[in-house]
Symmetry: C2
Subunit: 382 residues, 2 copies
């Protein structure tokens, strides 16, 4: 055997093990730092926890107890989860929407703000209208196609649901400029008044909206997020207390690895994401050229196994398909299955999923009207 | 004569002369500092300048030439002048509305934002709804009662004309947070995200609104203001250039003295203002107990005259009634007329004005619908 190749394989493997360790400590550290609780106790007592919870992908929370109480007693509770429409949804978004679907099965009334104003003011799109168009043409149909119940799901695009700005003005009085500047760490020469107001006003308005009188007043509200969204929850809890609302609870999900292995799946890194609107053949190609937890040297990988914990292909299989049922973790880490075969199998899962998903998109788009929120928020004006 | 009284009279007179000098240098210094031009040239060439211009109350401008060109050639131009509805209008507001009426006679399309969001976020009212109510119940009827032409006048309350927030988001991308923080000098522990966004987003949106496609696109726009509003014009000129709009022109009016002699007439200083909705008898009482430019010692005042330049009673007579026609300045400063008599005469003018004004308010209120703007701003969304 070429010893140079072997040495390279060893170095790469060491690197991947190092990343795996970093990954293993990242979430527990964040939990301690932010004072979040493990989800285990909730799983133990809930008759039917979500698939993502059982897999440890939904891993932490704050105040979930208050929500669980409403869940168990059929009292009203809400979930809010928005996103900025700078491009089509990808498999990373699907994770959170899968959890939303489970929450809706448990009785949640779900609010989904499509934040085209955010896309624009944080420079992800050239204009409000570009982001708005992506919202209606791509993001909203994709959300509907996932199977939400229109009676319990309220989607709105900020620029069209401008009552949200009255709510944002209403709540902004409860936050000092000082706090807003500190919590979000703006770059004052790059950020703008709109991005400041978005983050510390409009976003908090989204989170507290379900507790306004028009939706029945104060109620437990759950915000499923990635850990990077934590500051919004913190601020909204502060405001909620001052407005005599119930401080929103947080449910934290792990990120899905991007195909480039450089962090979470994100539209902003070229080649990191599989979009739900990707041509299935293109998606298969992306998977075939993806970074993995394996080695370039088959013999080495057979001996040492792959590092599933940092492998985007494993993650996709685990988050969205049948890694659990096919015992993929053991087969990978024991070296039984190599990356080529694994990618082929994952590619087929993704292809089938995308084909099926995309086949229902036109019908989903036609149903947009059933989901759009148009409740006017008059209680703060009259 | 009691020499103690005389000495006190002398001291007071010296003080008033000192204030007069300060007042005389205040506006020229501000003009130099801010790079504004004197209005004289405009007066010279305009066939029929406004009464306030001829009196030197409207005293400075920037880029008025561009507006004058549209005025002279019957091309479209706009005026924007808003106010926050934290209380009823007073005689200080009347000054600016008188100038607006003259501008409308010259052909201006006038936009009047009623900024209940401002009232709330800068802590002048307890809620958005309080300020909104004052807007519809008091401020808007008073504006209409002044005699505006509904075809050329667009009034809107921010919380009800929420399209303004889309415009504010649209323009906020052209202003760095840095600039907004510097220009307005926020108190970061007192101000809030809403007041920052109001000042550097919504207010700029008001000023640039007439240049959006829905109102015919870029056009000369004039903003009549007190000198303290200058930063808004500056910012809006920056944004206008970047959006290929015409940088708005500024027309600067002197403040009306408050009855307490402590600065401009303002609702925020108790006893400073005569409100247009004051009971006429109450208004007369306010005038009778007003600070003046005269002396407590009649003999002293007969000899030295009053200091009209810093006298709120003289100012009211000059700004709003017949000081010019009755030669009041000379009669006052020469000691011919003393404060008691002058106040009596002013009180009668104010009483008659208020009685007449208030008699038309109910009809004015009933016409609110004719003036309200409801043009949807779709060009930035579609």
């Amino acid at each position: 055997m070429n010893s140079e190749l072997l040495q390279q394989a060893m170095r790469e493997y060491e690197e991947k093990l190092f990343l795996k360790e970093k990954e293993a400590s990242y979430y527990p550290e964040k939990m301690r730092e932010l004072g979040l609780k493990n989800i285990e106790r909730f799983i133990k007592y809930h008759p039917n926890p979500s698939r993502l919870m059982k897999l440890g992908i939904t891993y932490a929370h704050r105040d979930l107890e208050i929500v669980a109480e409403s869940m168990a007693n059929n009292k009203p509770w809400a979930v809010i989860s928005g996103l900025n429409p700078s491009g089509p949804l990808h498999l990373g978004h699907k994770t959170i929407f899968d959890e939303l679907l489970w929450l809706q099965e448990q009785g949640a009334e779900i609010f989904i703000p499509i934040t085209n104003d955010e896309s624009y003011v944080v420079d992800k799109t050239k204009s409000l209208s570009d982001a708005r168009r992506i919202g209606y043409d791509s993001v909203i149909p994709s959300i509907i196609a996932m199977g939400f119940n229109p009676k319990l799901t309220h989607i709105f695009v900020d620029s069209d649901y401008t009552d949200i700005y009255n709510v944002a003005m209403d709540i902004s009085k409860y936050i000092t400029l000082n706090k807003a500047l500190k919590v979000f760490g703006f770059d004052e020469s790059e950020d703008n008044p709109g991005s400041l107001f978005y983050r510390s006003g409009v976003q908090i308005a989204h989170i507290l909206l379900p507790q306004y009188m028009e939706f029945g007043g104060p109620k437990p509200t759950l915000v499923p997020v990635g850990i990077d969204q934590h500051p919004y929850i913190l601020l909204s809890r502060d405001v909620a207390e001052r407005k005599k609302f119930i401080p929103p609870a947080e449910l934290t999900l792990k990120f899905l690895w991007g195909l480039d292995g450089k962090g979470k799946m994100s539209a902003s890194r070229e080649g990191s994401a599989i979009f739900l609107t990707d041509n299935p053949n293109e998606a298969v190609k992306k998977i075939k050229s993806s970074y993995t937890g394996g080695s370039a040297l088959a013999t080495y990988q057979r001996e040492h196994g792959g590092v599933a914990e940092i492998c985007p292909i494993y993650a996709i299989q685990q988050y969205h398909f049948d890694a659990e049922e096919t015992n993929l973790y053991t087969r990978c880490t024991s070296g039984q299955i190599l990356c080529g075969k694994c990618k082929e199998y994952a590619a087929e899962n993704v292809r089938k999923y995308l084909e099926k998903f995309q086949s229902v998109l036109p019908e989903a788009k036609a149903r947009t009207g059933e989901f759009l929120l148009n409740t006017s928020i008059r209680s703060i004006l009259e």
